[in-house]
């Protein structure tokens, strides 16, 4: 029909994804409390743990020992990625669903893929900034040596990307769990907190009871932290790992399985409206 032909074509998904990313990043930085929390939390935690455990130059692990600030840095990097991907998205999407923002978008020709591209872009932008701040703080304030080899940074890159992907997709899927926007952070935050305690972020993973290590091994945070340890700890620390290895293969597999599994669950459970609406 000529009516359709004379209309300009619908804008492309990628272009809209970019537009959404710009919008998401801009509005994210306006929620000052969330920004401060997400950016400062890993740095503050690193400062506290490094200071408390590292008093009088105490070290951890095999001879000659690893300073505590260096030991905790990889866990905090992993935690930061988890905060800005999983926690940020699970809460913000739950709030958008509750306040009608998702419903409004669904009433426009915006393709769902562009919405999720926008969220992914926002997560990438915030987690990159956050990680950079954390690394800078670790290097400048706690004299943590940063890796110098290309291999180490390549490992950092793929663990970071896979971890962000798993966290993002799991965050989208988990956003359907809180019953309202108000309860969202109360439901999501404890999940993240518990994982931090059992995944070798706040405690030395090797010191945890075996059953706790096994529970943690089901979830991505343990693998992200372990992958980051392989980047930021000296090679001598590999033998000290529970398995005696960095387990890069297993790390990649677990993170991928989480990403794919969360994608499948997310596609099946995602709702544009509250449960009590339609």
């Amino acid at each position: 029909m000529s009516v359709v032909d004379t209309r300009t074509r619908l804008p492309g998904v990628l272009r809209l994804g970019l537009a959404r990313t710009g919008y998401e990043v801009r509005t994210f930085f306006r929620e000052r409390d969330a920004v401060v929390f997400i950016f400062a939390y890993p740095i503050i935690m690193l400062a506290i743990f490094a200071t408390v455990f590292g008093q009088d130059g105490a070290t951890v692990g095999p001879e000659p020992g690893i300073p505590f600030a260096q030991y905790f840095l990889p866990g905090m990097v992993a935690t930061g990625v988890m905060l800005s991907s999983f926690q940020q998205l699970a809460i913000s999407i739950a709030v958008e669903r509750d306040d009608g923002g998702l419903k409004r978008l669904h009433g426009t020709p915006l393709p769902p893929a562009a919405y999720f591209l926008g969220k992914t872009g926002e997560v990438l932008a915030t987690s990159l900034i956050q990680t950079a701040l954390l690394l800078a703080a670790a290097a400048l304030l706690f004299d943590v040596p940063l890796p110098t080899t290309a291999t180490a940074w390549a490992t950092f890159a793929w663990v970071f990307v896979l971890g962000t992907a798993a966290g993002t997709l799991a965050g989208v899927a988990f956003s359907s769990v809180p019953r309202s926007g108000k309860s969202a952070s109360a439901v999501v935050t404890p999940v993240v907190l518990v994982l931090q305690f059992i995944s070798g972020v706040f405690f030395v993973f090797q010191d945890l009871p075996t059953w706790m290590q096994q529970v943690a091994s089901v979830f991505p945070l343990k693998w992200m932290a372990q992958g980051m340890r392989s980047v930021f700890l000296p090679p001598s620390a590999e033998a000290w790992e529970v398995s005696g290895s960095w387990q890069h293969g297993a790390t990649a597999v677990v993170l991928l399985v989480w990403a794919v599994g969360a994608l499948v669950v997310g596609i099946r459970t995602f709702r544009w409206q509250r449960r009590d609406d339609g």
Partner: protein, 281 residues
């Protein structure tokens, strides 16, 4: 050309409650139709089925020639939707939002013109959370019309407005209608339906109980005048199509002034109230 909206025998139940129970509705292109009814009459359910937000249990629905259940992006790009209540999008400014939403559509209106049309040009840099209720609603309308919709849905657009804000909102909707936009609005304000709509449907318990232009609503009998006077200490009244004739006859009977004389025309409100009470009285 088929109608913009064609609904036959629409049904939707929530558990035991039949929210929409055999509703028929037609909206021609360029027409402004109001669905009027009390809270819980099924107005929002009906409109949200037409918008593609809710599934239906039965009936035929065509909106711009499409079944809303299967309408894609092309179809959505021809609709404008203003939902009932919103407190989303809090941190973005008026200008950012209207410009951002314009990008979703293939042939949007100029965002700055839209902002001016809804009277928010003084508020372009204000974040949505800082707008008053009426300004917020104007922003909702701006986001609803920036895609140059052929068909605009307005779900209770002026609930909670002060009279001043309501009047200027009506001017805005009239301007859109004059520009050729087809509009389907729900409201529980009679005055709003009377002012804006070419045609009004009164809905009760999920069914259309009356339909017509605001002036004809309820039919001739419902619109008959009532002549009332006092005789032998009692109030008497007759319903009539020819009140002047009745008054002339009364004047003759009383030989002059008729005690307590009143000639009453039922307002739309009287008609409406008798319609929505119809089932219970």
């Amino acid at each position: 050309m088929p109608d913009a909206v064609e609904v036959v025998g629409l049904r939707k139940a929530y558990g035991e409650k039949r929210a929409v129970d055999g509703l028929d509705l037609h909206v021609a292109h360029g027409e402004v139709v109001a669905i009027l009814g009390p809270n819980g009459a099924g107005k929002t359910t009906t409109v949200e089925i037409l918008e593609g937000y809710r599934s239906r249990d039965g009936g035929d629905v065509r909106v711009l020639g499409q079944d809303p259940q299967t309408g894609g992006r092309d179809w959505r790009s021809r609709l404008g939707i203003v939902l009932q209540t919103n407190n989303d999008l809090a941190e973005a400014t008026v200008a950012e939002l209207v410009h951002h939403f314009a990008r979703f559509f293939p042939d949007p209106r100029d965002p700055d013109e839209v902002i001016a049309a809804v009277g928010l040009q003084e508020k372009v840099r204000t974040r949505a959370r800082q707008l008053s209720g009426g300004q917020r609603r104007r922003l909702d309308v701006a986001l609803g019309i920036v895609g140059r919709p052929e068909l605009l849905f307005l779900d209770e657009p002026t609930t909670g407005f002060d009279p001043q804000a309501r009047r200027s909102f009506w001017d805005l909707v009239e301007a859109l209608a004059d520009g050729g936009t087809t509009i389907l609005l729900t409201t529980h304000y009679l005055e709003e339906a009377e002012r804006l709509a070419d045609r009004v449907l009164v809905v009760r318990d999920g069914q259309v109980v009356a339909e017509g232009t605001p002036a004809d609503l309820g039919g001739r009998t419902a619109r008959q005048a009532v002549v009332r006077w006092t005789q032998d200490g009692q109030t008497r009244e007759v319903r009539t199509d020819t009140p002047t004739q009745v008054v002339v006859e009364l004047t003759g009977t009383f030989g002059g002034e008729v005690p307590g004389l009143q000639v009453l025309r039922p307002t739309l409100e009287d008609v409406y109230l008798s319609l929505i009470d119809g089932g219970t009285s």
